[in-house]
Subunit: 231 residues, 2 copies
Amino acid sequence: MKAGKTGRAGRWEVSRRMALGVREHVADSSRIDILRAAACCFMERGYTATSIDDVARRIGATKGRIYHHFPSKADLFAEVFRHGMDINFEALAPFQGMAGPALVRWRRMAKTHVLQMIDTKPFQRAVWIGVEMHLRGATTPEQRSVFNELIDYRDRYGAQFRDTLIQCRDEGVFRFENPSIAGQLMFMTLNSPIFWYSPRTGETRSDIEAIADQVVDYAQGGLCKEQGTQT
Amino acid sequence: MKAGKTGRAGRWEVSRRMALGVREHVADSSRIDILRAAACCFMERGYTATSIDDVARRIGATKGRIYHHFPSKADLFAEVFRHGMDINFEALAPFQGMAGPALVRWRRMAKTHVLQMIDTKPFQRAVWIGVEMHLRGATTPEQRSVFNELIDYRDRYGAQFRDTLIQCRDEGVFRFENPSIAGQLMFMTLNSPIFWYSPRTGETRSDIEAIADQVVDYAQGGLCKEQGTQT
C-alpha cells in the first residue's frame, strides 16, 4: 500500500504521532494500519463485497483486533471516509486565507489535491464509494446520519475550492457560464487520478509531480476557455 | 426513465424497429424494455444489489419474461453494457472519415458523446460499472471472456477519439505532454454528466445543448492549454 509510506499522509501521521504518548501511539498505529488495510479492500472489492475477515487477513490480524477498534464494517467504512477527508483538509490548510492573486492560490490548492489523490488513492476511492452509496440511497437507516455528516464534511472541503473558483472568475482569469457545472468538471478532473493513476516501476517524485502538473494545466485550461469561440 | 423517450437513442430505435417485421418488433420491444429497466436498476443499486426480481418488478413483468430473453443476471448486465456501446458507436458513425480540420470533427464527436451520456445515462452508468468490475477483477471466471470482449469493444470506441486527439495535436490546436493522460482527462470530462447530470423541471433541448457545450468547451480548453505557462 502506498498511502502513508510517502507524501503528505505519512508526514501528517508522523506529526500526529509525535503529539501522542507511547501507549496512545501503539493504539493509534494499530488503528491507522487497520484503516489503511480497509481502504485497500474497499477500493479493490467495493463496499458490499468487503468483509471484516478480508481486512483482518490483509494485515495478518484477528477479527477481534479489528472489532476492538471498530464495532462494525459500517463504522470501519465511515472512519476510512473520515480519515480520507481529514488528510485532505490538513493538506489544504496552508492555503487558507493566502493573499495574492486567486489563480496562484487555486493552482497550489489544485496541485495539492491531485497529489493527495495519487498519494492516498485507496482512501480517496473509499470517499468516492461513500458518496455514490449516499447518492443512490444505498445506506441503511443507521448509516444515514453518519453519512449525512460525512457528506457535509466533504461539501465544506469542496466549498473552499468553489470560493477560489469564483474569485478567479471575479479577477477575470476564469470564464464559465454555470459555476455549479464548472465545479463538477473541475473536481472530476482533479479527482480522476483515483481511477487511472497507478505507480510505474522506477517512477520518481518528479515524474509524479509532472503528472499532477498536466492534470492541473488541463483543469486550468478548461476553466479559462473563452466559450463558444470555436466550433 | 429518460433514455429512449427522447434524443438519439429514441431515433435510433425507431429506425431499427422499422426494419423489423411485426413479430420481431414485439419481441424486440419487449427486450429493449427489459434492457432499459435493467440499466436503471444497475445504475440505482449497483450490480451486486440488483436482482432479476427488481428488474421484473420495475416493468410489472414476471421473472419468467426476463428469463425468456436473458438466461441470468450476468447475461442481462452484459447486454445492457453492449447496448450502451452499440448506441455510442451508432451516434459517432456520421463522423467517421469526415474531412476538414480535425478540431471541427473532434468538437462534433465530443458533443455527440456528451449528449449520449445525458440522453442514455442509465446505460452509460452500467458501462462504467462494468469497466470498474473488470478493472478490480470482480468478474467471475464465466463472465471474464464476455467482459474481455465488451472491454475491447469499448476500447475500439475510445480509439476513434484518440486518433482525432492525435490529429488535433499534429494540426497544432491541441497541446499535451502525455497522450494517454490527455485521453483519460478528456474522457473523464466528457463522461462526467453520468455522475452529475439530472434533468430539471421545464428543461428544454436547448438547455441540454448548452450544458453539453459547456462540457465540450472545458475539455477543449484543457486540451489546448499551453503547459507551464502560469503558476
